[in-house]
């Protein structure tokens, strides 16, 4: 065993969001602030209080996946499997190139396969139990994306799923990094959720935070005086993480950035009067990455979109960095909150920001004068980005922060 701690780098990306399928489309849309929130088309939303979502249009799973996988997969799994294929291709790795026990899959999940489950529940109550698909046994399950990616690509190393709502997207990346440090050569990480179906919608409405506005440009306005909740979206991203040294040895063609720091905290009991945990999560991540606040070039905000949570985030950022001292952005204003997929997509946006030297904008938002943050609104901003901080919070008190650094 060597004494060095392996560095974990991102060497492949697969991404599917409402504004872009694949790295190039995603970045072409995101860098210019292309909105993709609209009225729901996947079902008739007229009888629900919230009617807007970020939907992925034009994804035909049958064009990309073997026919055997279609009857056994939810939409979120189909998206994840295709993203995994893209990530392998992007990394220049074929599944068989690395021993199967040296490759694992650690993804995050918020909902599981709600649309698949809804269809089977419908059969259960309208036709009877004998009509329920045998694949319901796993197709709805949180861990199914990890499992299906692992089976399809012969990855039998350390694998699992993290369930901590939106924070899970970063917690999964951190767990993947732990496995790299323990000796795995390659770990898939990230998350996908896609629950824009009536059952999934009702479940999401239960948290009371969904925007009920009907104008797509006025519905999800984090850090705006007019903030009124969030719009959900579907999609996510998968990252191939490798030991930097192993990636160098195999001549990896893309080394997008390093996962250099991570911190996670849990909020105190509501009503306790104690400070929320986000500030500490940020400080832990910076300490883990061994960087000072002044070295962070951009913060990708969680951007909850409800006034109380926006205030907590703005206060945490200001407490660590000082008022207006670091650019903050929330490209998720274009596509909605993707649950487990949101933070992995922000990690992708962060490394692409480094590559281009451009911070994508927070769309539709006018910064409330109550917040002392330098929010990048309206237009993208040219900037040298060497180190980025990605924040994510999960319903119920999860706070996670990841530092992503440039690799020379």
């Amino acid at each position: 065993m060597s004494a060095r701690t392996p560095r974990t780098v991102v060497t492949g990306i697969g991404v599917a969001t409402p504004n872009g399928l694949g790295v190039d489309d995603f970045w072409a849309a995101t860098r210019i602030g292309k909105n993709a929130i609209g009225r729901i088309t996947r079902f008739d939303p007229s009888q629900y209080p919230a009617t807007l979502a970020g939907e992925i249009q034009g994804f035909v799973a049958e064009d990309h996946l073997p026919n055997r996988l279609i009857p056994q997969t939810d939409r979120m799994t189909r998206l994840a499997l295709v993203a995994a294929d893209c990530a392998f291709e992007d990394a220049g790795v074929r599944p068989g190139d690395i021993p199967e026990f040296d490759m694992g899959v650690v993804t995050a999940s918020t909902s599981g396969g709600f649309e698949f489950g809804q269809n089977e529940l419908k059969k259960l109550w309208s036709q009877g139990s004998q009509y329920v698909s045998a694949y319901q046994s796993f197709a709805w399950f949180y861990a199914v994306n990890s499992g299906q990616i692992s089976i399809r690509n012969g990855m039998r190393g350390p694998s699992g799923v993290v369930v901590s709502d939106q924070a899970g997207g970063l917690d999964a990346v951190a767990q993947a990094r732990r496995q790299i440090r323990k000796g795995s050569k390659l770990i898939f990480s990230g998350g996908f959720d896609a629950s824009i179906c009536p059952w999934g919608w009702v479940a999401q409405l239960a948290n009371g935070r969904l925007s009920t506005r009907t104008e797509p440009e006025r519905a999800y306005l984090p850090f705006d005086a007019d903030a009124c909740g969030y719009v959900p979206g579907e999609g996510g991203a998968l990252l191939i993480l490798e030991d930097a040294e192993a990636a160098r040895r195999r001549g990896a063609r893309n080394v997008y950035g390093e996962i250099s720091g991570y911190g996670a905290t849990f909020d105190p009991k509501p009503g306790s009067g104690r400070e929320p945990g986000l500030r500490r999560a940020i400080e832990l991540a910076l300490a883990d990455a061994d960087v000072a606040p002044g070295q962070i070039d951009v913060v990708f905000a969680d951007a909850a979109g409800t006034p109380g949570l926006d205030r907590e985030e703005a206060e945490a950022v200001t407490a660590v960095f000082g008022a207006g001292r670091v650019p903050v952005t929330a490209p998720k204003t274009m596509i909605g909150r993707l649950y487990s997929g949101a933070a992995p997509v922000d990690v992708v946006a962060a490394v692409l920001s480094m590559r281009e030297g451009l911070i994508p904008p927070t769309t539709n938002v006018t910064l409330s004068p109550e917040y002392d943050i330098d929010l990048v609104t309206g237009q993208p901003r040219t900037a040298s980005v060497r180190t980025a901080l990605v924040l994510a919070r999960g319903y119920g008190g999860f706070n996670s922060a990841v530092v992503v650094g440039a690799v020379d």
């Binding site: 026919n67 055997r68 009857p71 056994q72 004998q130 009509y131 698909s133 045998a134 046994s137």
Partner: protein
Amino acid sequence: MSDKEFTLEVLRRILLEGAGADEGVDLDGDILDTDFEELGYESLALLETAGRIEREYGIALDDDVFTDNPTPRGLIAAVNAQMRESLAA
């Protein structure tokens, strides 16, 4: 209840509807004596297939029908025998 005969054609349709088909497998080919496993169907795919046959013909199959009959020829015979049995009952 059905007085239809369970045929290879029906089995092909049910397999496709319930579990799809592997890329490398030609279900329209001569598959009567090829093991289901070789055709790319794991236990869950077979469970789904059995459920669909039961639904369509209103019969109950043994839990180990695929263990006892690992090929389409054997399964077709077993399903037809089961149908005759339940008609006679």
